[in-house]
């Protein structure tokens, strides 16, 4: 994955760069400060904790808190954009309460900045390879663990390795699509109102409310017996169902007590079978492909979890909070909310899987993968039909999968390989363009002549 990383995601790399820095800066800061002064026993942001003690020990005069706070604010504004926001907030939080002189405060901030810049990824570092290894190795542990996780709620959602593969493969539809629907202020407080929204979302077909459906050979008609209890629970009646069936335009529809009699115009055996299917799957209410909705109470509000996903339709439902609707179907998010939302969803989903398995993978690796997958503006899978399969180098592609096919095709088309990536150069036995190997020297002959 290293070379895709180099060529595809400059900005992605920049993100990873910054990301990595944040991750390691506390450690590096620790190492250097420890050598400088024992008092700096903690990470730069936390250094303030240790610092006051030192200040007191040396008997330094403290400036009034207000002026110090103001000074700190002014100082930190200068670093806006140079240091990540979370470091700035941490610095402000920790330093504003500290008893020390302005010069000392400045020193701490300067040191933090130095540690930060030092911790940034260096040009030529194999960020992609590191990310691949960091996700891959814990992945091998996942195989040994559970495949499917039977949730506490009746809803069964694919987790673990199968789910991770699904995300990285950018499957159009996940094996267990599910949505989390939050309700708006009017509806989230009461179970009654939540149930009201459920009836709007949950898909109810004839098969869900029918006790039985039989074909009467003598009269050439279907008899659908409605289960009244269920129908009432779903706020439906025979009349409504009959009206819906009429819309199918298959023949005469009559109501007889609890039964609905449908006399189709066609009588051919094979067509009757298909008609039966059509009647059974006819949607009476709710949203297509949302099979079941569960209500759950979380933090004083009712939340709906669905079996099945249909983002664009759910967004139109009254009573939900459209800004917080979530689905685990990433391609649906890309379609409705755009590629950036999809990027966020990939990160969220992949990290959630790793986290649930108790694997401590740094989020920045996952972010890099998500950046790579979305770098063309569409979701691309990592495997053969995506990132790895679209490498420009023939040798790199051949090294990945179906070696002979790639070599044969390349030969037939007279492809050339510029030997720019890592894999190609490993194959031909040259130094690889990574680390110091990424630097190339050129000589400017014109200048040389001038010098002579």
């Amino acid at each position: 994955m290293a070379e895709e990383n180099e060529k595809d995601t400059l900005a992605g790399k920049a993100t990873a760069k910054a990301a990595k820095a944040k991750k390691s800066s506390p450690k590096k800061g620790y190492a250097r400060k420890a050598t400088k002064a024992e008092a700096h026993a903690e990470a730069p942001a936390k250094a303030s904790k240790a610092k006051p003690k030192k200040a007191k020990a040396e008997g330094l005069k403290a400036t009034p808190i207000e002026t110090r706070a103001a000074y700190l604010k002014k100082l930190l504004v200068n670093y806006k954009g140079m240091l990540p926001d979370n470091l700035l907030t941490q610095l402000e939080a920790k330093l504003s309460g500290a008893t020390m002189e302005e010069a000392q405060v400045k020193k701490i901030v300067d040191e933090t900045y130095k540690a930060y810049t030092k911790a940034l990824i260096e040009p030529g570092e194999a960020a992609g390879t590191v990310a691949a290894q960091s996700v891959g190795e814990p992945g091998t542990q996942m195989t040994l663990r559970t495949f499917h996780y039977a949730g506490v709620r009746e809803l069964n959602v694919t987790l673990g390795l199968p789910r991770l593969i699904e995300i990285v493969d950018a499957r159009r539809i996940p094996s267990t699509p599910t949505m989390t629907v939050f309700l708006d202020d009017d509806h989230k407080g009461s179970l009654e109102k939540a149930k009201e929204v459920v009836t709007r979302i949950e898909r109810i077909a004839v098969e869900n409310v029918a006790k039985s459906i039989e074909y009467d050979m003598v009269n050439a008609s279907f008899i659908v017996e409605v289960d009244e209890e269920i129908a009432q629970d779903k706020q439906l009646d025979a009349e409504f169902i009959a009206k819906s069936i009429v819309k199918l335009k298959i023949g005469k529809v009559e109501i007889e007590g609890n039964g609905i009699i449908i006399t189709p115009e066609v009588t051919a055996q094979d067509k009757i079978k298909r008609l039966r299917e059509r009647i059974l799957t006819l949607r009476l209410k709710g949203i297509k492909s949302i099979k079941r909705v569960l209500i759950q109470k979380e933090n004083e509000e009712y939340i709906l979890h669905t079996d099945g996903s249909n983002l664009s339709e759910v967004l139109k439902i009254k009573g939900i909070d459209p800004n917080r609707v979530y689905t685990n179907n990433v391609s649906e998010i890309a379609e409705v909310l755009g590629i950036e939302a999809a990027r966020a969803a990939i990160i969220k989903e992949a990290f959630q899987v790793l986290d649930q398995q108790g694997l401590d993978v740094d989020m920045r690796h996952v972010i890099l993968i998500a950046d790579l997958m979305t770098s063309t503006g569409r979701i691309r899978q990592i495997g053969r039909h995506g990132v790895s399969g679209e490498k420009s180098s023939v040798l790199a592609r051949a090294a990945f999968e179906v070696t002979v096919k790639h070599l044969l095709d390349a030969a037939a088309h007279g492809e050339e390989d510029a030997l720019e990536g890592v894999t190609e150069n490993v194959i031909v036995g040259q130094p690889i363009p990574l680390g110091t190997g990424i630097v190339e020297l050129f000589m400017r002959f014109s200048n040389q002549k001038e010098a002579e």
Partner: protein, 79 residues
């Protein structure tokens, strides 16, 4: 019902179309061409919403779980 605005969804970050000078400055700081940035399609729901055209560069301010806030860019391409 009020029309749902995708830009207000919690998964969608802040978008901003860069001005010519800003693009120039960006190219200079990173030493790259516009096309080297990650792309965003013109047909992307966000592009339609903010009216970005191919050739535009979008500045994206994301809420990041690791850095509170992070800035990224995307280059608008046809398709």
């Amino acid at each position: 019902m009020v029309k749902f605005e995708i830009l207000k969804h919690e998964l969608v970050p802040q978008f901003e179309i860069l001005k010519k000078e800003e693009i120039e400055a960006l190219r200079h700081t990173y030493g790259i061409k516009k096309e080297d940035l990650p792309w965003i399609r013109r047909s992307d729901p966000v592009c339609k919403e903010i009216g970005a055209k191919p050739g535009d560069v979008l500045k994206i301010t994301r809420k990041s779980p690791v850095a509170e806030q992070s800035v990224g860019y995307r280059y608008c391409v046809p398709g």
